[in-house]
């Protein structure tokens, strides 16, 4: 699983029938220090996460398992909302990574 932050929502009127009624969230992956890393991706939502929240998501075939017996063709799904991160290593030296972006708009 991977750490991320919800930065938006995606709306699609026409989509695969198994995905009807599913929320789709735009996720910014994070490092354990909660710095942005990598590129955005779109995840289905199995937890009811809202914009701005820190979450963790699963990738691969397992992303469709929370919705069984329906099998939406998803490759990433939010499976938990993070309350706190207990990190016990010294933070990395600044390596050009951007700080966490401003809180996203409500959607």
């Amino acid at each position: 699983m991977y750490l991320g932050r919800v930065v938006g929502c995606v709306w699609a009127t026409v989509k695969h029938p198994a995905m009807v009624g599913q929320r789709m969230l735009v996720i910014q992956p994070l490092t354990p220090e909660l710095q942005s890393t990598g590129k955005h991706l779109v995840c289905l939502d199995a937890t009811g996460a809202g914009t701005g929240e820190i979450i963790y998501y699963v990738r691969g075939k397992e992303a469709s398992f929370p919705f069984l017996p329906a099998e939406p063709p998803a490759d990433a799904t939010v499976v938990g909302i993070v309350d706190s991160v207990h990190l016990k290593r010294p933070p990395k030296a600044a390596g050009g990574r951007n700080p966490v972006h401003k809180k996203a708009r409500k959607c």
């Binding site: 699983m1 937890t47 963790y56 397992e62 993070v82 706190s84 990190l87």
Partner: protein
């Protein structure tokens, strides 16, 4: 499987039911020389590992689900063992 080090823990109240009762560990994959290999990931704990331990990490769904004992659940990474020692050929790292 990857060599990794446990660097922290997550607390999540609202999560998928299959993740309840297992620790959520922040795990940093390592190169053979001990340096970081990519970004840290989150794995469910199958062996009661703790922060600072060097561990074996599986990064594929079936093996992770089997290790944790939760089939057909959204789990793609699990910590499945402690590493005591690694023997290498000279210069292999």
């Amino acid at each position: 499987m990857l060599i990794a080090r446990v660097i922290g823990e997550l607390v999540a109240t609202q999560k998928h039911a299959s993740h309840e009762g297992r620790k959520l560990l922040l795990v940093q994959p390592l190169n053979l020389d001990g340096s970081d290999r990519g970004d840290a990931v989150i794995a469910l704990d199958a062996v009661d590992a703790g922060v600072g331990d060097r561990v074996l990490l599986v990064t594929e769904g079936f093996s992770a689900m089997t290790a944790v004992g939760r089939p057909q659940s959204p789990i793609d990474m699990a910590v499945i063992g402690f590493i005591d020692q690694i023997d290498l050929l000279p210069g292999a790292d």
